[in-house]
Every structure is written in structure tokens, then in C-alpha cells.
């Protein structure tokens, strides 16, 4: 089963249009990684660079070449196998799954935000997206 997408809890900033592939489907709430200049694709692996969270469902082949992306906000997110710690920076562990960023990795684009609570594998936690990058 695919990992749960993120769900918006507090909208602290509106989404912005970022470039994406026209032909690719992206579900709402998908964690998006930066793939090229101001361009995002769905995340799929650990350590994907922070791009944002899809604010709308991108329908493949609908002619649109941008997607609305949240780069800020409080989201409900799923913790990966190693979990997240209260108040610590988070990075992707797998598609749409987060874990605590290693101590020496906070300055290389891995951070997606701060965990507002602790969670273990499969549990959901509040993620302060975009802060602390």
C-alpha cells in the first residue's frame, strides 16, 4: 500500500504555481521534490530535495504545465520506519514518509520542516512544512 499523502491542517501561506510535467498525474497532497529549475515531480526516495506539497491533483495530459504547490503550512504527515522526534528537522525516508534528518545533513537540502510531535513507523504527526530550511 502506498504511503499516505500529506493533508493540510493549517494553511499559513497560499500555494504557488511550480513547473511540472504536463503528462504526469500527481495526487493531491503528494510530497514533491525539486527536479530542475523551479520544477517539481513526485518524490520517490530518501533524501529527495524539498520541493513542496501538491495543493491540487494534477491530471495527466490535461494541458497544464504547472501545479499548485504548498511551500509552507502545517500538515498531517506519515512517519517512516525510524520515526520522527519532537521539534527535530525532518527529511523524506521514502515516498511521502518522513524521518528525522541526521545531525550533519541539515544543510544539504534534505530538510522538509520540523516535527511538531513525535511519531513512530506508520504513525501520523504534525509537520511544520518548509520552516528551518
Amino acid at each position: 500500500m502506498a504511503n499516505a499523502v500529506l493533508e493540510l491542517v493549517f494553511e499559513t501561506a497560499p500555494p504557488i504555481p511550480m513547473i511540472c510535467a504536463e503528462a504526469t498525474t500527481i495526487p493531491k497532497g503528494t510530497a514533491l521534490k525539486l527536479s530542475a529549475a523551479f520544477t517539481v515531480i513526485a518524490s520517490g526516495a530518501a533524501d529527495d530535495e524539498f520541493g513542496g506539497v501538491a495543493a491540487e491533483e494534477k491530471i495527466g495530459g490535461d494541458g497544464k504545465k504547472t501545479i499548485a504547490v504548498y511551500r509552507d503550512g502545517i500538515f498531517k504527515a506519515e512517519a517512516g520506519t525510524t520515526g520522527v522526534s519532537l521539534g527535530m528537522p525532518c527529511k523524506l525516508e521514502a515516498a511521502n514518509e518522513f524521518t528525522t534528518t541526521a545531525a550533519n545533513n541539515s544543510d544539504i537540502g534534505y530538510n522538509w520542516g520540523i516535527a511538531l510531535e513525535a511519531a513512530t513507523n506508520g504513525q501520523f504527526f504534525l509537520l511544520d512544512l518548509g520552516r528551518g530550511n
Binding site: L8, F10, E11, E57, E117, A119, Q123, F124, L126
Partner: protein, 91 residues
Amino acid sequence: MVYDAAAEKDIRGIDIDKLVKGFGELTPTFKNYCNKSKTKSREIRWYRKGLSLATAMNPLDSLTTNGVTGSLIANTSFKSIPTVVEQKWER
């Protein structure tokens, strides 16, 4: 079950009619309890409200996480923004 909220494909751009409806051709056991509507459309799609956010006391309340299980709607403090709550629909 796959439920769609605003900005998702199944219900994007659709004015959802919230009335309960029934076909006249069906066995009319409960027909009198339903709204009936005719259509000349080639295709009809039916949606129903998702129950993923529902509880007995709160038909539609805020999300819960590992550590936050109480309502984020109740007791919202002065000057703070409200939580996001979305009704979801299943096609």
C-alpha cells in the same frame, strides 16, 4: 474506498447536488422517501459523502495524529487562523 476532496479529479469543477435521489424505474419500496429526478444525460455519475472524518459526535471535525486527538475546531483561540476541514466525496 477512495474519497476525493476539493481540488481532486473526481469532483473538480462539479457542482455537487446534495439531494438524495432515486430512479423511478427501481422497485418503489422507498421511493416515496426520496427525491426523484429525470435526466436525458448520456452518463450519470453518483457521489456520496465520505465518512473518513466522521465521528458520532462530530460529523466533520479536524484531522487527528499520533499525539493530537482532540478537536482543532473547538476552542480556537482569538486571532489564530482556523484549521482546514474538507468534506470528501466518493464517486
